[in-house]
Assembly symmetry: C2
Homo-oligomer: 213 residues x 2
């Protein structure tokens, strides 16, 4: 039976490994880092926000569904036209999704505290998902979302509008992610000296040279 | 200081009042009813799922945003064309949203139990929002959602596609709502006789003639 600190340690090691092999969203590492700096939190899975195009009858389906385009940083007319030109099996959906983070906390107190911080940073659709031996799992989520049906008969002007609006939505998600990072960061500097000292000792103990700075 | 049962009683009275004046979503009363039949739950606010058209720059905004069309039951070409023909100030967004329920439970145990039932019924995006003197607040939410930018240059064929897909999405939400009602219903008949007897006595005590059957 592992304890909570072991799960946190493993989660951090996995993030470093994912970063190494390029599996981590390119713009999320620094955000995850600030969560690990809180003594009683670690992140599990996360998405920094992205544009995707999905081939499915209905956009929320997982079965009978293929992601045909995905980009966390940008989106262009070329991307959209290339993807559409390849045809489709069911329907094409253009989905722009804000950031989503899954965070395990050591106890309910920390869960409520992080929810408060996250909501203050614009993650209004956040809540507690479950509680298990890995901790209390919270999901931090914004309302930033666009789920647009791509008709086969879109003209040039409509395509241009879609790219421009998608980028606007993507950017709004990134703004909120930055705000979240800043809010969690300042919550740490507000912790008492004693807590920070404990946290530092534990971090050194658990993470060795791979500790979050 | 009111106790939990008083809050439940008031919530039920409000639902009856809202139903009377036509403020309640037309197809949600029977769903709310089954939640009240559980001894340790009551619903606060709820939406049975709907099609709406919103005039805003970005679809999740509350400020600088006007709902120009809303229907919980159906949607037609006439509805869409009429709404578009009136023009817009910012942008028009066609939003089809699955059902969302807010439920207060008496304790965490009941919150986890209802979350389990709801997820089983397809309300995959459910979680605990907060905990206060009214109880533990959970949000029950599906992944059913479409957030479609309405370009000013849509042609007849695209409009027809949009109406048809919107109705499909709306219907998927209603299916899940029905499934939720059935699951909560059968969870009640699974409760022990003792619990039911207690619940019945309390219900009679608190609700008098307006009790949920």
């Amino acid at each position: 039976m592992e304890n909570w600190e072991d799960y946190k340690k493993k989660a951090w090691e996995r993030i470093l490994r994912d970063k190494e092999i390029g599996y981590l969203d390119p713009d999320i590492f620094e955000v995850l880092e600030v969560f690990f700096k809180r003594q009683k939190a670690y992140t599990q899975s996360s998405c920094s926000g992205r544009v995707s195009i999905v081939d499915s009858y209905l956009p929320w389906e997982r079965k009978d569904s293929t992601v045909v385009y995905k980009n966390h940083i940008t989106f262009s007319m070329e991307d959209l036209k290339d993807t559409i030109s390849k045809g489709y099996v069911r329907r094409l959906w253009l989905i722009v999704q804000g950031p989503i983070l899954h965070v395990y906390t050591k106890d309910m107190e920390e869960a409520w505290e992080l929810l408060k911080i996250a909501r203050g940073a614009g993650f209004k659709h956040s809540g507690i998902l479950t509680s298990n031996n890995k901790g209390v799992l919270i999901e931090l989520r914004t309302g930033v979302k666009m789920v647009h049906y791509l008709s086969p008969s879109l003209d040039q002007k409509e395509l241009e509008e879609l790219v421009s609006i998608s980028l606007e939505v993507l950017r709004k998600g990134k703004d909120k992610l930055r705000k979240l990072k800043e809010s969690v960061e300042s919550s740490i500097s507000n912790e008492s000296m004693e807590l920070r000292e404990n946290s530092k000792r534990e971090t050194e103990l658990h993470y060795g040279i791979n500790q979050p700075p």
